[in-house]
């Protein structure tokens, strides 16, 4: 068995040169490490001797890394939360830039849902909250429409001319807006007694309408596409109001079919989102 030589066993109370050199190179054996560091903590002389054994470039690099770590900007609460849930930091930053996640939009959406839930409950205390279910699918449509494009994304032009696939960004933001709407719906169902799980009847129609709106947005301005989708949805609601057919099992199946068709249409027109704007603005 190899005999271990610990620093404190040396007749000289200070750390031997050989051990200091090894420590500077990061080659101190594990069993001696604690003793060396403990001695260095208390001994200015050995710390000074240690600096003589250390490559100044390594020290500078270490300080530089420390500076960078200390100066690194702290991301916002939302970004930190996303990273904590395992979202890669670059994806979290892309999400943080979603215009529809601004407090004003989320607040307006929450208030709209809450009022719709309250009115629905007061109007039909025991029935299906039709007003709520009719309104809720339009929120992701509106949220997604204001999440990209020249009109709503302040950095649109700088983003357009980068290699990032626009559809990837749009779908990422769509997912975030949908998740936000689901969370808000959940909060509304808890805030208004008696709504229960019926409030989630909007989800499939909401996803279907969002997909339709995106499919249209490949061919026109996102706001126009959202407006056209909303108009179509209202027409369907008015036509089927008495039968509640839209939110029945048949209606949900139809929504799922629309969602599938519209999703395929979006994927087929994916390059349209990368196309430069055509004849925008005025000559300058």
């Amino acid at each position: 068995m190899t005999q271990r030589t610990l620093p404190q066993e040396s007749p000289d109370p200070h750390t031997p040169d050989a051990l200091l050199r090894g420590y500077a190179r990061g080659e101190t054996p594990a069993h001696a490490l604690r003793a060396v560091e403990s001695h260095l903590d208390h001994c200015p002389l050995c710390r000074s001797r240690l600096s003589g054994h250390t490559d100044p470039r390594i020290l500078d690099h270490g300080w530089e890394r420390l500076d960078v770590a200390i100066d690194a900007p702290v991301p916002g609460t939302g970004e930190r939360l996303l990273v904590r849930f395992g979202v890669p930091d670059h994806v979290a930053r892309l999400i943080a830039a979603t215009p529809a996640l601004r407090a004003s939009w989320v607040g307006a959406a929450a208030l709209t849902l809450l009022l719709a839930a309250l009115i629905a409950r007061l109007a039909e205390p025991a029935g299906t909250p039709l007003l709520f279910l009719g309104l809720a699918p339009l929120l992701p449509v509106a949220g997604v429409a204001v999440s990209y494009g020249r009109r709503w994304d302040p950095a649109h032009e700088m983003g357009l001319v980068t290699p990032m696939r626009a559809l990837r960004l749009v779908l990422l933001r769509t997912a975030v807006v949908l998740a936000t709407c689901i969370a808000l719906t959940g909060a509304a169902s808890l805030a208004v007694p008696g709504l229960g799980l019926a409030t989630f009847g909007w989800l499939l129609p909401g996803c279907a309408l969002t997909a339709v709106s995106l499919a249209l947005a490949a061919r026109m301005d996102s706001t126009t596409a959202a407006g056209a989708t909303a108009a179509g949805w209202l027409a369907v609601l008015i036509a089927t109001h008495d039968s509640h057919a839209v939110f029945s099992a048949t209606g949900q199946t139809a929504s799922a079919a629309v969602l599938a068709v519209a999703s395929v249409a979006v994927l087929l027109s994916r390059t349209a989102f990368d196309r430069p704007a055509y004849r925008q603005g005025t000559a300058r």
Partner: protein
């Protein structure tokens, strides 16, 4: 087409009834080229078309050997391009660092450590290291402009297209900007539009003058100054024959136009050539100076 970084042939863009670009042709190689022209000349339209942000109605473009009409080639151009738009927008809640980091992510820099190093490098290059933690909404106009410039520089693009990059910069910042662009222009291609003839004189090996969507001059700055050779003179009082004249710091008048016999002819500056060029195309020189 050849090995030019940018080649444009017979480019045409119309906005409803007005013509923004009318059969524009030119090519660019490595170095800094200035694009001069009054408001409405079509500079921004041309830069946006080259930066793949606008589809022209007619003509052909090759950027870095790629055709921007083809989706795959367009993405390849975007990988190698840095673009500063005329009115860059920002996500106001981001800090300067976060915004440049955001654009760097859009430029496919997903490795956190390397990306952050690059963001720090470009923010340092534009003199914003100390302000990188500030929210963009708290920054001055000049600082915002520098944030956008840093975002354009991220990733060391081979082609840099800058639309009026010196707007909002104070004289010291402008000097620093010139040094930065001069360095970049040593090995890469930079095209910048400006109203400032001083920027062109200080930075550019080549200058293109655009007016009413038409290229009026394409050459070096000395050649543009030479347009005014023999047509610039000084006098003790304002000369009524001059197309434009202004009092200089020495107290004499600097006149441009058709000099009277015996006038004290002086060497023309780039601005003189530019103003006379615009006047020769039917514009009053004074309007050009205002632009």
């Amino acid at each position: 087409m050849t090995d030019h970084t940018v080649e444009v042939r017979e480019l045409g863009v119309r906005y409803r009834r007005s013509v923004a670009l009318d059969s524009v042709s030119f090519s660019l190689r490595t170095g800094v080229t200035g694009l001069l022209g009054p408001n409405g000349a079509g500079k921004t339209t041309l830069l946006r078309a080259l930066a793949t942000a606008l589809v022209p109605d007619t003509g052909e473009i090759r950027v870095l050997g790629q055709d921007p009409r083809d989706p795959g080639q367009r993405t390849e151009i975007r990988r190698r391009l840095g673009f500063l738009p005329q009115d860059p927008g920002f996500h106001p809640n981001f800090t300067a660092f976060e915004f440049v980091d955001y654009v760097a992510i859009l430029k496919e820099m997903t490795h956190r450590g390397r990306r952050h190093d690059e963001v720090r490098r470009v923010l340092d290059a534009v003199g914003l290291s100390e302000h990188r933690g500030k929210r963009i909404r708290m920054l001055s106009g000049g600082m915002k402009q520098r944030v956008a410039l840093a975002a354009a520089l991220a990733g060391e693009p081979e082609l840099l297209i800058l639309d009026e990059p010196t707007v909002g910069l104070d004289p010291e910042q402008r000097l620093r900007f010139r040094e930065l662009i001069a360095d970049i222009g040593e090995g890469r291609t930079v095209l910048l539009s400006t109203h400032q003839t001083e920027d062109v004189a200080a930075l550019c090996r080549r200058v293109v003058v655009l007016d009413h969507g038409v290229v009026k001059f394409d050459g070096d700055p000395v050649g543009l100054s030479a347009v005014a050779q023999g047509r610039v003179w000084s006098s003790a009082e304002r000369d009524p024959q001059a197309l434009a004249g202004w009092r200089t710091g020495q107290g004499t008048f600097h006149n441009i136009g058709s000099p009277p016999p015996g006038a004290a002819i002086v060497d023309p500056a780039l601005e003189d050539g530019y103003l006379l060029l615009l006047d020769d195309t039917g514009r009053r020189a004074g309007q050009g100076a205002a632009a």
